[in-house]
């Protein structure tokens, strides 16, 4: 056996004289200071020029911030740092631009929604309420939404899950390609088309009546591709080594999937399903076509018209008087809160079920 000779460690170059290591730096609070300065300038310019809209003030301030940041950094720190600052400040400005409308929407909804959102709103329907007077509630719509979404999830989640498992773990040939293609197509189906499809098949052809279940079927059609897609992504994230480790222990493939692959990805899968639920919770079109809408409580989703929160918002808004506007905002707030709770739940489950490294 030959003796190994270790190569000498490569000599480290001393930094060449051309690139000094120390350069003038702006103090750390510069961006904050500049932000305050440009906000002030934006307001000043807006006031002087007599611009009405605050949005214009904000845009002026944002542009000023980006420009000032760039110019100042270039003057003091040099071009490379200036480009870095430019990119950073652009990212910040875009972030604000994206968040401001969201926050203002939330603010508006909360502000207007809380006026009538109380215990009685949550526990009463619109049965017998004179619509131009205050009073009444969204209990029947809440029940409708919960039941319709529950049914839709009960249909779509298992089918979507199994489809994704087939695609990732078993599917190879033409069938898998075809399924992937159809899932892609389904993702693009407008909700009104899904509604019309169920209307034509269930209500017109099979001659069934309006019901929450009919609405749930169309919601399930909308939900399924989302579940398939997100589950597929999550299953693909599971390293192949884990599958092989399990198979090499003589564990059959189906058990490997059930006991190793699914538990590893369950957090992500749940999040995906919850997001799909949140996505369909706001659907109105299929509800109008298939559930029809109702003013009174109907606890049976399989028989007779129901309401749902998004439909209720639409219906109240259309009535066009102060009392019904208030109810519409309150129901909108309720819907947002409901979706938020779902999201938080999803995050909680994802964090709880995520593989623990615990090092």
């Amino acid at each position: 056996m030959s003796n190994l000779t270790l190569d000498k460690a490569p000599t480290v170059d001393t930094p060449s004289a051309g690139a000094p290591l120390r350069q003038p730096r702006l103090p750390r609070w510069t961006p904050l200071g500049l932000a305050a300065l440009s906000a002030a300038l934006g307001t000043g310019v807006g006031l002087l020029a007599g611009l009405e809209s605050r949005i214009q003030w904000g845009l002026i301030a944002a542009l000023l911030f980006v420009a000032l940041n760039f110019v100042l950094t270039k003057a003091v720190e040099g071009t490379r740092q200036a480009k870095d600052r430019l990119a950073t400040s652009l990212v910040w400005v875009c972030f604000l631009l994206a968040v401001v409308p969201l926050l203002s929407l939330l603010w508006e909804t909360v502000n207007r929604g809380v006026t009538v959102l109380d215990g009685s709103f949550l526990t009463h329907s619109m049965n017998g309420v004179i619509t131009i007077q205050p009073g009444g509630g969204a209990y029947h719509a809440l029940i409708g939404t919960l039941q319709q979404i529950g049914l839709a999830t009960a249909i779509a989640a298992p089918i979507g899950l199994l489809t994704a498992i087939y695609l990732v773990e078993y599917g190879t040939g033409r069938l898998a390609k075809a399924i992937t293609f159809f899932v892609d197509v389904m993702t693009g189906i407008p909700s009104i088309v899904a509604g019309l499809f169920v209307l034509a098949f269930w209500i017109i052809y099979l001659d069934m009546g309006y019901s929450g279940f009919a609405g749930a079927m169309s919601l399930a059609i909308l939900m399924m591709p989302i579940v398939v897609r997100s589950t597929e992504e999550m299953l693909k994230l599971v390293p192949n080594e884990l599958r092989e480790a399990s198979l090499a222990l003589g564990i059959p493939k189906w058990r490997t999937i059930l006991k190793v692959v699914l538990p590893t990805s369950i957090g992500g899968i749940t999040t995906g399903v919850m997001l799909a639920v949140a996505r369909i919770a706001g659907e109105t079109a299929p509800i109008m076509l298939l559930v029809f809408g109702a003013a009174s409580i109907n606890n049976n989703p399989f028989n007779g018209a129901q309401s749902s929160l998004p439909y209720y918002v639409y219906e109240q808004w259309k009535l066009g008087n102060e009392a019904s506007y208030d109810r519409a905002w309150a129901a909108a707030l309720l819907l947002i809160a409901f979706i938020m709770v779902l999201n938080l739940l999803a995050r909680g489950i994802a964090a709880w079920k995520a593989p623990k490294s615990g090092r």
Partner: protein, 258 residues
């Protein structure tokens, strides 16, 4: 319980690419056989054909015979799942199940293959962990996640997991390549102990390791890049390292390769 393996005329393919060509050799029971050879010559592929893991790879296909004592592993009525229970495997990178605790990792093979009584499982887990030289390090953290152990401990955990199902043969694909010298030594000692009960095949790039742990050594090579890998020779380790019958083996072992 250890069994011998006789391989004859074995070729393995990835789709249309032939990775190993016409290999015939025997693996003796209750001994350690080392596979050495340059990267890409098909050692891992060959190892995976021995417990039918090769066919798990999409496009993976095998021709030829692998006899375990007197049964052909590739016979038409053989269930690959029971083959893999009989012939265990340890992978190059430690791969404990991330959702399971140390205990559950070791018990996984038994638990997922049927119902076992708790007391019985406890025994098997302790025995396997002791067998893998890991018991003292983890006995107080059995319920902590397996992925929280150090790399070397994880690899020994994977060995414990593999021997918990009491296979007849243990295949190890470069089990020490990600480990420090101390963990490597621990695993080499372990291989030395395990060979009294198991038939062991170990792939390694470390000549000294092959010389230290194995009784027999097989040298694989490939004529050129893109060509299938072939078995050059297989013999007693002492002979391979002192007086091999093929020049290429001597060149490879002495580092005068390529």
């Amino acid at each position: 319980m250890a069994k011998r393996i006789d391989i004859s005329g074995l070729s393995a393919y990835y789709g249309s690419h032939r990775a190993i060509d016409d290999i015939s050799m025997s693996v003796e029971p209750r001994s350690v056989t080392a596979f050495i050879g340059p990267s890409g010559c098909g050692k891992s592929t060959f190892l995976r054909t021995l417990n039918r893991m090769h066919e798990v790879t999409p496009g993976g296909r095998v021709e030829g015979k692998v006899m375990l004592d007197n049964e052909d592993l590739y016979g038409s009525d053989v269930d690959p799942v029971s083959v893999r229970r009989t012939i265990g495997m340890v992978f190059q990178r430690p791969n404990p199940f991330p959702t399971m605790s140390v205990y559950e990792n070791v018990a996984a093979g038994l638990k997922l293959n049927g119902t076992y009584k708790k007391a019985e499982l406890d025994d098997v887990v302790e025995k396997s962990l002791r067998g893998a030289n890991l018991w003292n390090e983890v006995k107080d953290r059995m319920n902590k996640p397996g992925s929280g152990l150090s790399g070397g401990q994880q690899q020994r955990l994977c060995i414990a997991r593999a021997i918990a199902v009491e296979p007849q043969v243990l295949l190890m694909d470069e089990p020490c390549s990600a480990l420090d010298p101390i963990s490597t030594l621990a695993i080499e000692d372990l291989v030395g102990q395990l060979k009294s009960d198991y038939t062991i095949v170990i792939v390694t790039h470390n000549m000294q390791q092959a010389a230290r742990v194995s009784d027999r050594t097989a040298f694989f090579n490939l004529a050129a890049v893109g060509q299938p890998g072939k078995l050059v020779e297989v013999d007693e380790t002492e002979r391979i390292f002192s007086n091999p019958s093929v020049q290429a083996t001597e060149d490879y072992i002495s580092g005068r390769f390529g």
